[in-house]
């Protein structure tokens, strides 16, 4: 990592404003127009033209900060990678972090102050605010925001409160931890943050807690999870009871699908085993087996056993889990909540609605939140805001709330600002800009500081102010180190010592016969804030493989009961409100449960996100509720297309050899020796200087899609848009195939990332008439775009179907939504942008290999093991993707190739892939 110098830091960015990339984009060569080279007038210090530089920064999810590295070329951020030093990244990324770099250049971002629909000036806004803020006490002043744990922003809010003392701050985050908070209050009498030490647990029981699902803690847990996989004794065992599929459920060794209210009976059964004496659990037989096994194993692993509850479970279950964990001596840390607001999120939103309608609010500032979209229609937030004399919205987009407010103030993107954030455990990190602001925008802190009449209103100074005291004494050196590392040293909170006073009561709920809706944030666009990000819209959801929309997941039994077929459009009605969406049949989901996601159906997201999918959050009268009872489902009169990148998630035919599964017991006593390579008439190729290979561990893979978006970002992979998806076209170089297979009373699921196999006996190469698909001496199956004439014979003959064809000029003139040139600034200059009529595919991040090789060759050495990291590999939170040199016997990939769970996809075709797999392992004593 380059070392950074604080003050000249700014000079660098000022200079970038004049940025002139030496790499002027060349036009088509045929006419050979003259081309200009524009050097810098004054070369910024530290910048190396055309070379990628890495800067540590922080991105937020649900308010919590996670540290990442931004890669920047010629002053343009082009890629986000994980920051190994940040405990909530550990070098990995998730799809949201990866996609931020696209949002930065989003041409739909708000760039101007708006009054109503008209562009207004800052002075006009200042005048209006001045009038509104005349009352000294600030009576009727309200601030709405999401979760805020940034010290600098908290200081701004404090400052604002000192200017308008009566300011009421409504903090309401749509994807929140209300149930956990309530459970924590019940158990400990205070709100604490529960952080499991996942890696220390031998047995885990998850009661619909999606720890591996997207969220601020995902990357930390995923890494710990990965450290306990493999075929050895260190392997942990995971039991999951959940109503609909989650990533944690798919990763489980034992999983059971149950309605939410029955899951609590499992908790009751387990607690009873420790003498909780909560009455007989009411469980079906198969669930009794599950509960008994989970309970016994937890007991046996006392001290290394852990029980977790999810947001769909009521506070009592959370409290009970705390009690069980206390009995187990579970590896779990209790930390003071960084979220200092005492009230729960749903309560705050309801309070906001009530105060709006009761006219207790006169002036409203919405700081980077979208309550009009998030809140159920029943709360009529938009009407409430519309009736106010003064309202202003600060946001990246002119979204639904912006349009309800009088004023809209454009917000700077996270990659252009100074600021700070804390992670779940309090670890602080600095938000550092990678580029000067693209538009005349301000940061949230800058707006708030201005509103509070603070003396300093510059984000850099504001941030420094927060830390001058925090890093007392040797500020300069410490500050530089914090910027460099992306973490403020020793800023994490100390664990609390809290005790559960008594066995919490667990009331019984009458078993309902109605349908229950299980709600969760959208796996791709979260609570909707990423809806205008085309990468995320086109990132297929782990289980349904749906893109550009949201669907209703129903169990096959229910589908039969209600006479619904796959992809039928259905109406879901609850509390008199109806939403319409395509249905998708999901084996392994609990009967009587409808799975739905928030985040789609945006009304004012932008060219990408507006009108995609259905706004599910409209229907409930309980904001943010994760489970809604009393739903009905029926076939709809409308038709909503279901768009997916994998039409057959419920695979017909035998897939045992494609997605191979083994139990730990089978691996210990393999029935058959490992398959030998089939003989071939072709001679085994002589290996070059390196022999690159990839091993994908499907056992570690949790299906989070980080690799997919990372690949898209690294390799300039275009999006194609919903219409093209409907035509069966997509461009992802790396796809994640979803497999499902019946097993006992449930199903087993798994994910198989499929990049190019780089077959040694590649079927795609001999069929290419022009040598556009060829091998290089290091075993890469490369595609020479400029030589390709587009016969598509290679893809026709690819058994893995990993090649992607530019049917239209997806990255140029025929790009989806015609968003213009701005997005091209994201393009990685080391990778060609592919034109129309050209085949493309994964090339093992050839540009990175090339860079690594040149670096090594300049130093007269070979590329070291681990020096060459592909984009997907770098992103993977579970380190499921291994890459390296087969010529080294001691390399990671060479060793994995000899693992007992190693296999080759479609080995019988004898294509000799360089990309191979490790089997999905179930930690089970049984066979199969």
């Amino acid at each position: 990592m380059p070392s950074l110098k604080t003050p000249s830091e700014l000079d660098r960015r000022v200079a970038l404003k004049l940025l002139a990339s030496v790499m002027a984009a060349t036009m088509a060569r045929c006419s050979r127009p003259d081309e200009e080279i524009i050097p810098y007038a004054n070369m910024p210090e530290g910048l190396v033209a055309g070379e990628p530089m890495r800067f540590a920064t922080t991105l937020m999810l649900a308010g919590y900060g996670r540290g990442f590295l931004g890669i920047s070329v010629d002053g343009r951020p082009i890629k986000i990678e994980g920051n190994p030093k940040h405990p909530f990244s550990l070098g990995a990324t998730d799809i949201f972090a990866e996609a931020e770099v696209l949002s930065l250049y989003d041409p739909d971002r708000s760039t101007a102050i708006h009054h109503g629909d008209a562009i207004a000036t800052w002075d006009e806004f200042a005048a209006d605010w001045g009038r509104a803020a005349q009352t000294k006490s600030g009576e009727g002043f309200a601030l709405v925001s999401g979760r805020i744990v940034s010290p600098t922003t908290l200081a701004r809010i404090a400052a604002l409160k000192s200017r308008v003392p009566e300011l009421r701050w409504y903090r309401t985050e749509p994807v929140n931890d209300d149930a956990a908070r309530a459970g924590s209050r019940l158990a400990f009498g205070r709100v604490v943050t529960t952080l499991p030490r996942w890696a220390n647990a031998d047995v885990i029981l998850s009661l619909d807690a999606d720890s591996l699902g997207h969220g601020p803690d995902e990357l930390r847990i995923a890494r710990a999870y990965a450290s306990r996989r493999g075929n050895g004794a260190k392997r942990q065992r995971i039991h999951v009871a959940e109503p609909v599929w989650t990533l944690t459920g798919a990763a489980a060794d034992f999983r059971i699908a149950l309605r939410p209210e029955i899951i609590r009976e499992i908790a009751r059964a387990v607690a009873n085993a420790y003498g909780a004496n909560l009455g007989t659990p009411q469980l079906p037989d198969y669930a009794k087996d599950f509960a008994q096994r989970a309970g016994n194993e937890l007991m046996a692993a006392r001290g290394k056993a852990l029980v977790l509850a999810g947001e769909s479970q009521p506070a009592q279950v959370h409290a009970l889990c705390h009690w069980i964990n206390a009995q187990l001596g579970a590896p779990v840390d209790y930390l003071p909540s960084q979220d200092t607001v005492e009230n729960d999120h749903a309560f705050e939103l309801a309070a906001l609605a009530e105060d709006l309608h009761a006219r207790r609010i006169k002036a409203l500032i919405v700081a980077d939140a979208n309550p009009v979209y998030d809140a159920p229609d029943a709360l009529r937030i938009a009407d409430g805001i519309a009736s106010l004399p003064f309202s202003a919205h600060i946001g990246l987009y002119r979204d639904e709330t912006a349009r309800a407010c009088h004023w809209h103030l454009p917000l700077s993107h996270a990659l252009e600002i100074w600021g700070d954030a804390r992670a779940l455990d309090g670890t602080a990190s600095i938000v550092q800009p990678l580029i000067q602001k693209l538009y005349p925008t301000r940061t949230r802190d800058e707006y708030l500081a201005w509103l509070a009449n603070e003396a300093v209103t510059n984000a850099y100074d504001l941030t420094c102010m927060s830390w001058q005291n925090g890093i007392a004494g040797k500020f300069d050196a410490e500050w530089r180190k914090a910027l460099n590392d992306g973490v403020v040293a020793n800023s994490a909170a100390m664990p609390l010592s809290v005790a559960v006073a008594r066995v919490p009561d667990l009331p019984r709920t009458p078993a309902t016969r109605t349908m229950t809706i299980a709600l969760s944030p959208d796996p791709s666009v979260w609570d909707g804030r990423y809806a205008n990000n085309a990468w995320l819209q086109e990132c297929s959801k782990p289980f349904t493989k749906q893109v550009w929309g949201n669907a209703v997941q129903i169990a096959p039994g229910d589908a039969q009961r209600f006479n619904i077929n796959d992809e039928d459009t259905v109406d879901i009605e609850v509390d008199g409100k109806t939403v319409t969406a395509p249905a998708i049949l999901t084996p392994g989901q609990a009967d009587g449960v409808i799975g739905m996601t928030w985040g789609q159906g945006r009304l004012n997201a932008g060219r990408i996100g507006t009108g995609i999918g259905t706004r599910v959050c409209a229907i409930s009268s309980h904001p943010f509720a994760r489970a809604l009872d009393g739903a009905t489902i029926r076939k709809s009169a409308h038709t909503v297309p279901f768009r997916s990148t994998q039409a057959h998630t419920r695979l017909q035919g035998r897939t045992e050899d494609l997605f191979q599964i083994a139990t730990l017991a089978e691996l210990a006593h393999p029935e058959h020796p490992p398959k030998q390579l089939p003989p071939s008439l072709l001679s085994v190729p002589a290996k070059g200087e390196y022999a690159w290979a990839m091993v994908v561990d499907t056992d570690a893979c949790i299906g989070c899609n980080a690799c997919v978006v990372a690949c898209q970002s690294e390799n300039n992979v275009p999006v194609v848009g919903p219409e093209e998806i409907s035509r069966g076209r997509d461009m992802h170089w790396l796809r994640v195939d979803s497999y499902i297979r019946p097993h006992g009373y449930t199903e087993r699921r798994g994910f198989q990332p499929v990049p190019c196999m780089h077959c040694e006996f590649a079927p795609c190469e001999p069929v290419c008439p022009v040598e556009a698909s060829v091998h290089d001496r290091e075993g890469l199956n490369v595609q020479v775009y400029n030589r390709c004439i587009g016969t598509r014979f290679c893809e026709a003959n690819c058994p893995y179907k990993v090649r992607r064809f530019n049917w239209f000029d997806y990255s140029g003139d025929q790009a989806y939504a015609d968003e213009g040139e701005a997005l091209k600034a994201q393009h990685n200059p080391d990778v060609s942008a592919r034109g129309r009529g050209v085949m493309e595919k994964c090339n093992y991040c050839l540009q990175r290999i090339s860079r690594a090789r040149k670096t090594a060759e300049k130093e007269d050495r070979k590329i070291a093991e681990g020096e060459m990291v592909t984009a997907c590999q770098a992103a993977c939170p579970t380190r499921a993707i291994h890459f390296g040199d087969l010529n080294r016997a001691d390399s990671d990939v060479s060793k994995l190739r000899h693992a007992p769970q190693h296999y080759t996809l479609l080995q019988e075709l004898n294509t000799r892939p360089r990309t191979t797999y490790l089997r999905r392992i179930f930690n089970s004593d049984e066979n199969g």
């Binding site: 072709l682 190729p685 190469e765 001999p766 290419c768 040598e771 091998h775 001496r777």
Partner: protein, 170 residues
């Protein structure tokens, strides 16, 4: 200046008989013009043709095929060896198909040229076209071609009994 006598006949049979008589009489015809081929008649003419177009085509085909293979071998093995699915650089089974085609193509094209060359074609201008009856020879008549000679004309008239005798003068 070529000048001819054309003895006109109605059927191939008559023409054949006449050609034989002429040949036996020491006045073998120079040529026959006919609207359909008459098998074996060329042996009765002054210079019987010994067309070798078959051999020409055979040799051309052999050379074309060899060149086809050589082109592939040279480009794939010598000039720019590129790894294609780790097939051998000289993938001879796959390399047999192009020579197969170049073989046939060369034989056909060279054969055409040989046919033209040996037939003395193209000859859009030819003294025989001065006679209108030459035009009938490509439609339904048979003509024996002799050099123009008054005595010969009499002999032909007497011995071959053609339907008519035409003189061709340029």
């Amino acid at each position: 200046m070529s000048e001819y006598l054309l003895a006109e006949f109605d059927t191939a049979h008559e023409t054949m008989d006449a050609a034989r008589l002429a040949s036996e009489g020491g006045h073998a015809a120079q040529d026959v013009l006919s609207h359909i081929p008459i098998e074996g008649i060329d042996e009765l003419l002054i210079r019987p043709s010994k067309p070798t177009v078959g051999w020409v085509m055979f040799i051309a085909g052999a050379i074309g095929g060899a060149l086809g293979y050589f082109m592939q071998w040279y480009s794939a093995v010598i000039d720019y060896p590129i790894i294609s699915g780790h097939r051998p650089l000289n993938s001879w089974p796959a390399f047999l198909l192009v020579p197969y085609e170049t073989n046939i193509l060369s034989a056909a094209i060279v054969g055409l040229l040989a046919w033209l060359w040996m037939s003395g074609l193209p000859k859009p201008y030819h003294p025989l076209f001065f006679a209108d009856v030459t035009g009938r020879a490509v439609q339904d008549r048979y003509l024996l071609v002799f050099p123009r000679d008054a005595k010969l004309a009499e002999w032909i008239s007497a011995h071959l009994k053609p339907r008519a005798i035409h003189e061709v003068r340029e």
